[in-house]
Amino acid sequence: MLKLSFRYDQTSARLEVDGLPDISLGHSEETIGIISSWTLQLVGSPELSGKRVHLESMMAAVLPYARHRLSGVKRAFGDEHQPVSISPNESGHKLLLRSSQKGVKPLTVHLDDAELTDLVRCLDALRLDIRVKVSWQIPSYRPLHHKDIADRVPFARRFTAALIGISAFVSVAAIGLLIPIPEGSDLSPIEARLTMPTRKL
């Protein structure tokens, strides 16, 4: 059986995936169903390589990071137990890769925004490639929660509607309190008005 190799190129990134069709699932000879290895070349950084689990970890960190960044939220993805994590820094983005081999120090790659978008496009191309029939365990893109973007939205914009509502209610209540109740009457103001004699013109 021939080993298949697919390549995804961008200006500063090249992702190459090697694998085989999963015959048990009835894949054709031109389909990758089992990923055996992959390599990622980022301009100005050492070549990265690994197994499927590492690639999946990279996708699980980088793609949600890009999704959050699109909403203006800068937060890290991937913790110290994951092979790959990404976080924002002063110059752009810091990609941290931890080797599963003992004694190998984590590798840090600094990316600017253009390099990040190149990497995201490579991962997107792999994810959407119909020739690669792999079920990626990546969280789906969803709208963010209020708490995620609360810091990004100005205080005034967050509470404008509530403030207008409360102030309108208070104003109406204050005006209502200013209307005097007719003296010497047991009737409520509304009843008193209803019983007032009408003047004919």
Partner: protein, 180 residues
Amino acid sequence: MDMTQASKTKRAILGRRACERLDLLLLVIEALDLNSSEAMLFTSHKLGFQALFPNRVELWKRRCYNPLRKTTRRGNLSEVDAEALIKLLCSMADRLYPVLRQLLSKKEPKALNDERWNLFGTRLNELIQERMNLRRGAVQRLLSKEDMNSFHYELIFTLALAAGPGGVDRLRASLLDPFS
């Protein structure tokens, strides 16, 4: 549920701010590509939206759901129209990706890139003045932002992350954020 499945099931009506943002991003495309009005129509036909946008007027009418425009339409952009506009935007961003990348790259010569940013900023402001209702406070804020450069940078970065078929789901999810 993986991302591909999610894209097929998720569709929703965009809020007012999301319509504003979508139209503003299309305006950014116009600022980057002088021939974009023709290119948008051509791309929409290529994407199979000929029935939705048979001509430029129909495309313009959908964009008029942006309440900041001089000529606006009441109501909400329908789900089908919103999805078509998102896909059109991502496709146009994909087409212009080399330009977006050039603007974002820190490895480009700084003086040259500064000129590119200036040119882009001028064109975008001119388009905003031409198309938007200048009496609206939100439009005035768009034109008088103190941190105009970072605002323009965010718009270009947004387009770069939304470029291509992979960007459609990301952009849609982002437009459906609360406060959008």
